[in-house]
Structures are given as structure tokens and as C-alpha cells.
Amino acid sequence: MKIRSYKPLLPLFLIYALLILIAVAVPGMWQPVAFFMFYVALGQAFNIFMGLTGYVDFGYVAFLGLGAYGMAIAIKYFSSLGLISILLGILLAVVMSILLSLAVGAVALRLRGAYFAIATIGVNEGFRYLIEGVRLWGGSEGIVLSGLMRRTFGRETANLLSTFFSDILIIAIAILAAMTTIWILNRKMGYALLALREDEDAARVMGINVTKYKIMAFITSASFAGLIGAVAWTLKLTYVFPEDVFNIHYTVEAIVIVMLGGAGTLLGPVVGGLIYGVLKYYLSVVFPGIQLLILAPMLILTIIAFPEGIVGFIKKKGKKSRISYYLR
């Protein structure tokens, strides 16, 4: 293990540190930074699968949704355990999203390109309508936890959980996801995934077990998604509705972030997530109601002008210079 290969973490942690500093030092900035960090974490998690393998999972939000349900179920049925139920929720969220990723991985990962994208949409929508159709976990009425959480944990703890603790956890997930990404990139798995992304058939012929690495990336990415859903949705918002947590809109946001920053790069999702989060937040303040009208053309322009994303573009320009040590 070489220290040099972990140098790209430096600019990344610098950005994280700066954000945390802003959140703590500037009054009123804690919630906005938490909002940005949600998108950074989402981008990081999605990048591990989409960025590294090149497969577009349009149903990615299903993992976040299942994670959100995992946390909600744990709090609802094990609230007698007190705060241990939160830990249980995190565990359940990861286990449930891993189980789904195994099921989806076994069937949908055989497909490629547009067929894979459509199949994953089918999984996501199918799951949502199954929950609503057979009235699983409260059906379309969802699970509302705010009253229960106030009663079991006490008003102050419940408040602290949703306005402080969940944000801290999101930051922790973002850091963990970044470290996982560079760990994968520096190992055999990273090179195998790179080969698979460029040409899957050629990689297979070269003797790379593509199925194994694809599924590994898929499971890793899905478990991070489950964590984000559990923490950023259930714990923070204290409710879960199938209509919200399986909304394809979040998948698209994740894709936009990864594309904007640069798919398959370490720093890309952070840059993309920050740009997207900041724009979305401040555009909705300055131009309430029409922020999407401004974001959509920007998205199209980015795709046409920088197909490799911002970090991908800088990486290409600075290939020979010293900057390349810090970019991955």
C-alpha cells in the first residue's frame, strides 16, 4: 500500500473540512450545509456503481427507499429499546438494501444499456406499487413517526436526532463513501471495473470475472444508498411515504450530480453534488418556483460541452502536471 495513491483524498477532505467549518462557524448555515452534504453523499454512493461500471441504474432510488423503510420499521416496532432502535434501523436499512441489490443484481445485471435502465425503472416502480397494492408497511399512507419519536425519546432528543444527529451521520457517510471509493480504485477491483466499463466483452475475454466485480460494486453502492435513505429521510423527516421515497426524481438527481462532476472520478461526485446542491438551494431562494427551469438547460449544456464532467475535464487537461497526483 502506497501513501501516494491515497493523495487524492487530500483535496476531498479539504472540501469536507471547509464545509463543516462553514456549518459550525456561520450562523444559520448548518441546515444548508446538511442539504449540500445529502447531495454529496448521494453522488458518492451512486458513483461507486454508475461511475465505476458505466451501468445506469434508473431505479437506484429504490435502495434509498428501502433504507428509509428499514429505519422506519425499526423505530416503529422496536421503539421500546430506546435509542438502540436507531442502531437497529441503520443495520436493517443496510441489510434490506443489500438483499434487494442481490435480487436485482442476479436478474437485471444480465441486461445492458437501455434495457438495464428500463428494467431498473421497472424494479423501482414495481416495488412501490407492491407496497401500495398489498398495503405493506402502511401502504400508500406510509409510516409517520414524529409523534412516536417524541413520546419514546423525549421531545429534545427527538429534535436533536432529526436536526443534528442525522446531519452528522450524513457527513460520516459521505466520508466513508469517499474512502471506500479510493480503496476500490487502488485495488484490483478498481482496474477490473475500469476495464469492464471501457469494454465488457474484452474484459471478460482477458479473464476478468466481470459478473463478480459488477455485483460487488452494485452491493456496495446499494448499501450506502440504504444508509442515506435511513438517515437523511426517515431520521431527518420522521415520515416515509412510498410516493416520495420511490420517486424517480432522486435517481435523476444522482445521475446529474455524477455526470456534472465526472463519472468514475473520486472528486467528481463531491464537486457535482456541491454545485447541484448550492444551485438548487439558492435558486429556490432567488427564483422560487422556476429553479428547475434554470437547472434543466444547464444540465443539457454541461452534457454537450463537458461530456466527461468537470473533474474529468480538469483531469484530462492536467494529465502531465503535478495536479494529477491529487486527482483521481
Partner: protein, 297 residues
């Protein structure tokens, strides 16, 4: 007996609605077949058609059937602009770029429509009488919509098989390089196919309004996008004719299973029907990715 009558009237309604689904999916399949682009913003164009019908009816009291040619021309224009502005630059780009670009176009159109028309649900009803036939009760406007969609599909089929341009499009679907070698201007075919695809989709939005009396809204498209995905996969993804027949089958399936699933106590038949549809989609993708009606590749 009640169930049988219920099923019959549901299936009849499903057949009518299915023909609309068919036309609403042909554009998606045409664009995928020719350009290999999945138009993720598909539903936004259906929404445009629905609003066109609504405004023409409210402002000039034009019946939806008369709006069909207007919507087609309007759609062709939008499609051409979208192609020239964005899609033209992305024809050879990786799949991801086009998925995102069409998504961006869809959002842009929706938000623009919201700015112009507001976010409220609107609707209109064009009453030209109702047909009573045994257990079946259906308004004539829906039957007329059915005939219109069959006519549109038939005209398109004739155009594709009997004209030179139509044959050129089919050649590009089959083999892009081969078509270039034969002297076909592929870029022009791309522009034409994209415009026709969008034109058809906007047109189908007019027909949709006859089935959703108060469901016209700037965000109505998402639902149709998902349905169109299921239908186009069923029809083989790159064949407009497959899509038309698949849409017909989907309408029958959707409304038939609604009647059947409604018999199970304690479930919501509406949501469960959708679940069955998506489960079905996955099975088809796994067993026969070229579609139930498509040929082998």
C-alpha cells in the same frame, strides 16, 4: 354475473384506451429504433398535446378530433427544434448523455408549461352522446378516439412501407452503416424521425384528453412515460408497429386485471395492477429482451 359484466365492460374500455397507448408509444419506439435514444422526457410531449387540445377546445371550441392535425404540426416543430438544438450534437455520444439530455428537455418543457399555464389540474368534456350496449357504457368520443388512433397508425404504416422516405427510415433502423453506403442522408433521416416521433407523441396527447376528463396537468407525463416504457419493451423497443399492438394488449391487460384483482379483499387493485405490469416487464426483459412481438436480433 356481475363480475362477468364488469370484466366485459372493462375489457372493452381497455381496448379503446389501449389503442391510444399504442399511438402514444409509437413515437418512443420510432426514436429508439432510428437514433438508439431512449426519450426519457417522453411524457412531457404527451402533456403538450393534452394542453393543446384543452386550449383549442376552451378558446375556439374546436373538438379534439379537429385538433389532431394542429397538434401533429406543433409536435413536428417542437421535435425539429429539440433535435437541432440538442439531439443533433449527441447522436454518437454515449447512452448516458442522451438519457440525461432527453430528461433535461422533458423537465424544461414541463417547467416552461408550468410558467405559462400554472400547476393546476384542468380538464374539459366533449360530449357527443353515449353508447349503451349490454353491459358496456361508453361515450362516443372515446370510440371516435379509437378510430382516430387506428387511422393514424394505418396512415403511418402506409407512409413507411410505400414511400421512399419511409423505406429510408426503415433502412436506417435495420443497419445504419448500410444505409449510409446506400446513399441515404442519415442525418436528415435522424432529424425527420425525431420530429415525427415527437409529432406523434404530441398528437397522442390530444387523444389522451378524451380519456382523462380532469387529469390535464403539467406533470401528467411521468405516468405515461413509465407506461410507454413497458409497452415499447413489450413491442420490441424499436418497432412502432410492435408498439401499437403492444399498447392495445396493455390496455386490455391493465383494465382486465383491474377487474380481476378487485376481487381480492384487502388490496388496492389500482396499485396492484401496476405492480403486475412492472413484474411482467421484468419477466419479458429477462426471457425475451427483443420483445414479445419483436423478432430476434
Amino acid at each position: 354475473m356481475v363480475f362477468a359484466e364488469n370484466l366485459i365492460s372493462n375489457l372493452f374500455y381497455g381496448a379503446l384506451l389501449g389503442s391510444i397507448y399504442g399511438v402514444a408509444t409509437m413515437g418512443l419506439s420510432l426514436i429508439f429504433g432510428v437514433l438508439r435514444i431512449v426519450n426519457v422526457g417522453h411524457g412531457a410531449f404527451i402533456m403538450i398535446g393534452a394542453f393543446t387540445a384543452f386550449w383549442m377546445f376552451t378558446l375556439y371550441s374546436l373538438p379534439p378530433v379537429a385538433v389532431i392535425p394542429i397538434a401533429l404540426v406543433f409536435g413536428l416543430a417542437i421535435g425539429f427544434i429539440a433535435f437541432q438544438a440538442v439531439i443533433r450534437r449527441l447522436v454518437d455520444a454515449p447512452e448516458l448523455s442522451t438519457l440525461l439530455a432527453t430528461f433535461g428537455i422533458g423537465i424544461f418543457i414541463e417547467e416552461l408549461a408550468k410558467l405559462v399555464w400554472g400547476a393546476d389540474y384542468v380538464g374539459f368534456s366533449w360530449d357527443i352522446g353515449t353508447l349503451y350496449l349490454g353491459p358496456i357504457t361508453v361515450s362516443y368520443s372515446k370510440i371516435l378516439a379509437f378510430f382516430c388512433s387506428v387511422l393514424v397508425a394505418a396512415l403511418l404504416y402506409l407512409w413507411f412501407t410505400k414511400t421512399k422516405l419511409g423505406n429510408a427510415i426503415r433502412a436506417v433502423v435495420q443497419d445504419r452503416e448500410g444505409a449510409v453506403v446506400c446513399g441515404i442522408n442519415v442525418n436528415r433521416i435522424f432529424a425527420l424521425s425525431f420530429s415525427i416521433g415527437i409529432g406523434l407523441t404530441v398528437l397522442s396527447g390530444v387523444l389522451v384528453t378524451l380519456f382523462v376528463p380532469v387529469g390535464i396537468n403539467v406533470y401528467m407525463g411521468g405516468d405515461y412515460t413509465l407506461k410507454a416504457f413497458v409497452i415499447s419493451v413489450l413491442g420490441g423497443l424499436d418497432s412502432p408497429w410492435g408498439a401499437f399492438i403492444a399498447g392495445f394488449l396493455f390496455g386490455l391487460f391493465e383494465n382486465g386485471s383491474y377487474a380481476i384483482l378487485g376481487l381480492i379483499p384487502g388490496v388496492e387493485p389500482f396499485a396492484l395492477t401496476r405492480f403486475v405490469a412492472f413484474a411482467f416487464l421484468l419477466i419479458i426483459l429477462l426471457v425475451k429482451p427483443t420483445g414479445l412481438l419483436g423478432g430476434g436480433e
